[in-house]
Each structure stands twice: as structure tokens, then as C-alpha cells.
């Protein structure tokens, strides 16, 4: 399993994702991308849908990518990498390529949960050999913090603003991780920018399987969450410690919860530092909604633990 030394060594040997990109100082995405790329030994080809990462790394005529990289459109990263991987198989069969090459997608929640879900589902069903990493910052941050189906209930986003009549996004977030697990792919996991070694281990485990794999990584956006610029790790850690964002994996259908906090923190601990939830603390209605959010977190956490017990044959 990769540790900090191994990751650092690989970073030294080949800088796959270079400095000079224009992601915000304090953005979680570059940490996640570096960790993922350094956790894979084989040569990689990367695809990204339109989004923060894409625009921050590929302004013509510059590029932050020191590995082959492709961007096509917003909703088609999974289909694009499927084509790359199909080409790889064809050319290997013809003896034109001998090397083992791996395929990775880095896509945001908008490009994955929403507009890219169909292409993702198709690629998962067809069984292409690739790893899809979701940089989940819970809204369309690149275009200005519009709500996505990953945005939590009650969060104020620019297209689900907290107003006098409606207290932020009325709907619950979609559970993409479970949707992907339902495809019966060999490896699905949730990870967080607060636990990079856990992420590295997950990438390594994922890459030991042929076929489609997905890791849904919670990726703090201080701008969209309206937190401190230096809070990428601490905010993600609170999400994990409140069990709002459990770290778990589903390996060939078997659930494993990778981290069970000794003391499960109340959801307020994660909500409070975020400007997007500030309105919830100012009214009785908001406080009621916080209680509902807590109930939902508890329900999902218990459900996850039951799934773990169930699939582990206990």
C-alpha cells in the first residue's frame, strides 16, 4: 500500500500533474489529482469533462498535464475514455502497443452526477477498464456555485438560493456512489481530501481490478462552501467525522467502512463553518431542517453499517 514516502518518490520520478495550473490557492482538487496519479505505477491517459480542473490546467497554449490528457465536452468524459480504452485494446490486439496503460477520468459532480450520468452508466455497463474519480465539491463551482444533484439539502447555491420563502436547496443530494455500486462494477469507493493515504490505498486497490472503477472524493471548495481558504482538509475531515461523508468501499459487492469515528460529531459541526448553511442557524425552520439533515445522516450511516454486516456475511 502506498505511503507518503512512496507517493513522494513517484512524484519525484515523474511529475504527472505540474505546478503552474490556475486552480484557486486552497483548492482540494490538485491534492486529489496528484495523489491519484502518484498512486498508479503504470503509464496513464487522463480524460476530464469541462469544469474547474479542465479550465485551470489547459489554457492554450499551456498545459499542466505531463501525461496524455483529453477534454472533449461536459457530459461525455466517460464515453471519451471508453473510446480511448477501446482504441487501446484494438491496437494491443494488432501488436501496435505493448505497454500496459491505465485510464483515468477526473470529473466534477456536475459533469458526473448530472449531465454526464448517462455516459457514465453506459461506460460502466459496457465494462471498459478505467478509473473514474469524482472531484465532488457539491455544486457547479466552475460556473459560479449553481446547485447540482450532489448539493446537499438546505445549502444555498446561486440557483437554489436561501430566500425569504425557500431556505436553500429543497431536495436531498443524489447518492451516486450507490448508483455506481448498483451497476455491479468491481470497485466503488468514497474518499475524502482529508484522508489522502486512504485515497491512495483505494486507488491502488481499484487499479488491481480490470473493468470500471469509481472513487467519489469529497473535494472542499472554500469559495462555494464559503469557508476559510485554508479549510480544504479540515472541512472535509468534519464531513467524515460527522458521518456526512463516510469513507467506505464496495469491493466486488462487499461493503467495507474504512473509518468509523470513535465519536460521531453532530452535523452542525460541519454545517456551521460554511456560509452556504448560515441561514439555517437563524430561524426555527432552519433548525428543524438541520435536525432533518442529522436524521438523514444517521439513517444513511446505519444503513451503511448494515450493508457492511450483511455483505461481509456476519
Amino acid at each position: 500500500m502506498p505511503n507518503v514516502k512512496v507517493l513522494a518518490k513517484r512524484q519525484e520520478a515523474q511529475v504527472r500533474f505540474t505546478a503552474g495550473h490556475s486552480l484557486c490557492a486552497g483548492c482540494a482538487e490538485s491534492m486529489i489529482v496528484r495523489t491519484v496519479l502518484n498512486s498508479i505505477e503504470a503509464p496513464v491517459v487522463v480524460a476530464s469533462p469541462t469544469g474547474c480542473l479542465e479550465v485551470s490546467t489547459s489554457r492554450y497554449p499551456t498545459s499542466a498535464w505531463n501525461v496524455p490528457w483529453i477534454h472533449s465536452a461536459f457530459e461525455n468524459a466517460a464515453a471519451t475514455i471508453a473510446g480511448v480504452e477501446a482504441a487501446y485494446r484494438a491496437l494491443v490486439r494488432k501488436g501496435k502497443i505493448k505497454k500496459k496503460i491505465r485510464f483515468v477520468v477526473f470529473g466534477g459532480d456536475g459533469g458526473t452526477y448530472d449531465i454526464g450520468l448517462q455516459a457514465l452508466s453506459g461506460a460502466l455497463e459496457r465494462g471498459h477498464d478505467f478509473l473514474y474519480v469524482v472531484l465532488n465539491n457539491e455544486a457547479y463551482m466552475n460556473t459560479g456555485v449553481q446547485r447540482s444533484s450532489a448539493t446537499p439539502r438546505g445549502a444555498s447555491a446561486t440557483t437554489s438560493p436561501a430566500g425569504k420563502a425557500i431556505p436553500g436547496k429543497p431536495q436531498d443530494r443524489k447518492n451516486l456512489t450507490e448508483i455506481v455500486a448498483a451497476h455491479g462494477v468491481p470497485y466503488v469507493a468514497q474518499a475524502s481530501v482529508s484522508n489522502l493515504i486512504d485515497l491512495a490505498n483505494k486507488v491502488e486497490r481499484a487499479m488491481s481490478y480490470q473493468g470500471p472503477k469509481l472513487i467519489n472524493v469529497l473535494s472542499t471548495c472554500f469559495l462555494g462552501w464559503r469557508t476559510r481558504r485554508d479549510s480544504a482538509v479540515t472541512m472535509a475531515k468534519l464531513a467524515v467525522d460527522t458521518c456526512y461523508w463516510p469513507l467506505y468501499e464496495v469491493v466486488e459487492g462487499v461493503y467495507k467502512v474504512n473509518y468509523k469515528p470513535k465519536e460521531k460529531l453532530p452535523i452542525e459541526e460541519w454545517l456551521k463553518p460554511q456560509g452556504r448553511f448560515r441561514h439555517l442557524f437563524k430561524s426555527e425552520e432552519g433548525k428543524k431542517l438541520i435536525a432533518e439533515l442529522q436524521a438523514a445522516v444517521d439513517r444513511h450511516w446505519e444503513e451503511l453499517l448494515r450493508k457492511e454486516r450483511c455483505t461481509q456475511g456476519e
Binding site: S63, I70, S72, A73, A86
Partner: protein, 386 residues
């Protein structure tokens, strides 16, 4: 050896002989049989193509873009709504200079939904940056699918290419087709030489970067420059193919009894066959009529069309799709080519055959009969109940 087959089968045969590395395709009437034939070739081990049976046309073209950028020879096929769905990615394929060859089995666009032929799908792709060729027959569809590889993949061109064939009229009707021997096709098409392939991991390339106002304009101009090299490459490939096949391909369009024509029709696709019958009949009666059938629609061969039509007094341009709010797109192409010419015919525009409406010899006779009295610049409808 001459065989009888549908247009679908003719296209699938060409694809089998070319044997691209990757085919990504999604079923849609009236294209599905191409996908089916090819899937059977793969299932039977006749070809060693990676078939990507995608969940939509949008993903079909997206997978084609990924595969072509990766360094593979790539083909697909679609029709109508499928083209409409994938059009976003066709623009991207052109912008990334990827030589993806696509058979477009022409069908009307919704609403109302209609599975029959017109050219609305091809017209939708007009400004996408793809090369567009129209076939009159299954034989032409077969031949141009093979020529398409060489044209699209030429290192100065590197653009997606659409071979149009009329839905049902060509795709489903059985015609006589003379395929070339497999080996001749393979040799003619040759090896695909990718440029900066993604799978060259030693030399990492960044594909699909974003360009700000400081570069976007120059990149699009460079794409136009690629388009400008097409005519020369088209003629060279066509000449070579004509020699190989013994079939009379010469030029961007076929002039039929046009040299001394006083009245002429300009048309694309299978209705050209109907029009030729009428031209022959009227010629027998001593009427000086002719036909110009466009093969290469994009890029549009302005100069050559001007040369071919300058001496004609009256020209009817027949469009099989509406460009709502203006004249037909082919009419605008042809007339704009003459805009600075002193010597030019008078033009009339006919919209015909929408949603699979039959265009018969009587309709074409009607066009020739009306031409003398028609008001120049008039937009008329052929075979319509008004």
C-alpha cells in the same frame, strides 16, 4: 464482381473491407442495419474491430473522438435525431482535427417525428466543420466510404467526413453494387498514421485545451485552412480510385448532359437518378436540359460550379430540407457562388421530398416545364398539397 445488395450492406461491406480499429455506434432507423451487419462481422470474427455499442449517439461520437485521439482509425453511422444528438461532438471532432468517417443515412428531423428521407440532418451538420459527400446510389455510397478514409485522413486535411445516403431509398432498396476485392481496398486505404496520439505515453499530448480570445480565432482559422485543402485531396483520391475501380468519378459533382443545357437542375442524393431519367426523355424531345448532381457539398466547390453553370439560362436548385426563414441552403450556396459574375443564369429554388414524400419523374418534368416562366429567386414547393 457485381452483386445485389442494399445500401446498408454496401456501406457495411466497405467498412468490413476497411476494418477500422474502433466502431462506436447506436441504433436508429434507418441506419440500424449498418450497425447490425457490422456487429455480426465482429461476432463472427470476420473483422477485429473494437465495437463500442454505446448508449446514445452522443456517446458514439464521443467514443469516436476518444478513440481517434488515442490513435485509432474510427468509423460510425447515424441518422436524423441521432445526428442531432451528436452534433455537439461533431463540432469537437472537427475542432480537434480528427478524421472520423460517418455514414449518415438521411432522415427527416422531428417534429413531427418521421423516419423517412430528407436532408434536414445533413443540413444540420452543414457548419460543423465536417466534409460532406452525397451519394446517388448504393454503389456511390460504397465507393465514397472507401475514398472517405483517404480524404479525411490526409495529413493536411484531418477532418471528420460524412457520407450521406438517402434513408430507405438507398439504405433499404436492393441495388446492383460492384465491390472491389478486399485486398485492393485494404491497399488503397493503407495504414492509419495518427498525429500526437494519446496512447504515445512517452510523448504526452494535451488534447482539447480551452482557448481564450487570444488564440481561439487563429485556431478556427487553421481549421478553415484544413477545409481549404480538401478539394485538391478529394480530386487526387478520386482520380486514383477511378483508376482502381474503373468507375467514372471525376470532379466535385457530376454534370449530366450539362454542356449545352439551357435549363438545368442542381440536386443532391438519390433523386438525381430520377432526374436523369427525365433529362433523357426531354432530350429525346429535343429539349436542351441537364443536371448537376453535387457529390462534394462541404467544402462547397464554388468556382467549378460557376464554370459548369455559367452558360445555362435557367437553373432550378432543389433542396431536400427547409432552412426556415430563408431559401434552401443549397440554393444559397449556388447563387452566392455567382454573386460577382456578370454572366449568370436565373435561379429558382424548389423544396422537395420532405419526410420521405416521393419525388417522381412527373415532379421533375414539372420543374423543367415551369422553369421558363418562373420568377427569378422564387421559393417553390414540389409535390406539396397547398
Amino acid at each position: 464482381m457485381k452483386k445485389t445488395m442494399t445500401g446498408h450492406k454496401a456501406v457495411a461491406e466497405a467498412m468490413r473491407q476497411i476494418e477500422p480499429d474502433v466502431v462506436a455506434v447506436y441504433p436508429i432507423t434507418p441506419q440500424s442495419e449498418i450497425a447490425e451487419y457490422y456487429a455480426q462481422y465482429v461476432a463472427d470474427g470476420i473483422v477485429h474491430t473494437e465495437l463500442v455499442p454505446v448508449e446514445s449517439e452522443h456517446s458514439a461520437m464521443s467514443a469516436c473522438v476518444g478513440a481517434a485521439a488515442a490513435g485509432a482509425r474510427v468509423m460510425t453511422a447515424t441518422a436524423s435525431q441521432g445526428l442531432a444528438l451528436l452534433i455537439e461532438v461533431l463540432y469537437i471532432a472537427a475542432g480537434l482535427r480528427l478524421p472520423i468517417v460517418m455514414a449518415l443515412v438521411n432522415r427527416a428531423l422531428s417534429a413531427p417525428i418521421n423516419i423517412h428521407c430528407d436532408h434536414a440532418d445533413a443540413y444540420l451538420a452543414r457548419d460543423a466543420g465536417a466534409i460532406q459527400i452525397f451519394a446517388e446510389s448504393a454503389q456511390e455510397a460504397y465507393d465514397y466510404m472507401i475514398m472517405a478514409q483517404r480524404i479525411a485522413e490526409n495529413e493536411r486535411v484531418r477532418l471528420p467526413l460524412i457520407v450521406n445516403l438517402d434513408g430507405f431509398t438507398l439504405s433499404h432498396s436492393v441495388q446492383v453494387v460492384e465491390p472491389l476485392p478486399d485486398e485492393e481496398v485494404k491497399q488503397f486505404v493503407g495504414e492509419f498514421k495518427p498525429v500526437y496520439p494519446l496512447l504515445d505515453v512517452e510523448n504526452p499530448a494535451t488534447w482539447g485545451p480551452f482557448a481564450m480570445p487570444d488564440y481561439y480565432f487563429e485556431l478556427k482559422r487553421a481549421q478553415q485552412a484544413g477545409m481549404e485543402t480538401v478539394p485538391e485531396v478529394f480530386l487526387k483520391v478520386q482520380e486514383e480510385y477511378a483508376k482502381l475501380s474503373g468507375r467514372p468519378y471525376k470532379g466535385f459533382f457530376e454534370g449530366y448532359k450539362l454542356e449545352d443545357a439551357e435549363r438545368a437542375i442542381v440536386i443532391m442524393g438519390s433523386t438525381a437518378g430520377t432526374a436523369k431519367v427525365v433529362v433523357d426523355e426531354l432530350r429525346k424531345k429535343g429539349e436542351k436540359v441537364g443536371l448537376l448532381k453535387v457529390w462534394l457539398w462541404r467544402p462547397f466547390p464554388k468556382e467549378e460550379i460557376v464554370k459548369a453553370l455559367s452558360h445555362v439560362a435557367k437553373v432550378a436548385v432543389l433542396d431536400r430540407a427547409l432552412s426556415f426563414g430563408n431559401m434552401g441552403a443549397l440554393y444559397l450556396d449556388v447563387t452566392s457562388a455567382f454573386v460577382h459574375r456578370e454572366e449568370r443564369p436565373t435561379f429558382v429554388n424548389y423544396i422537395y421530398g420532405l419526410g420521405g414524400r416521393d419525388t417522381t419523374t412527373e415532379h421533375i418534368e414539372q420543374v423543367f416545364a415551369e422553369l421558363d416562366a418562373a420568377r427569378p429567386g422564387e421559393l417553390r414547393y414540389l409535390g406539396l398539397r397547398e
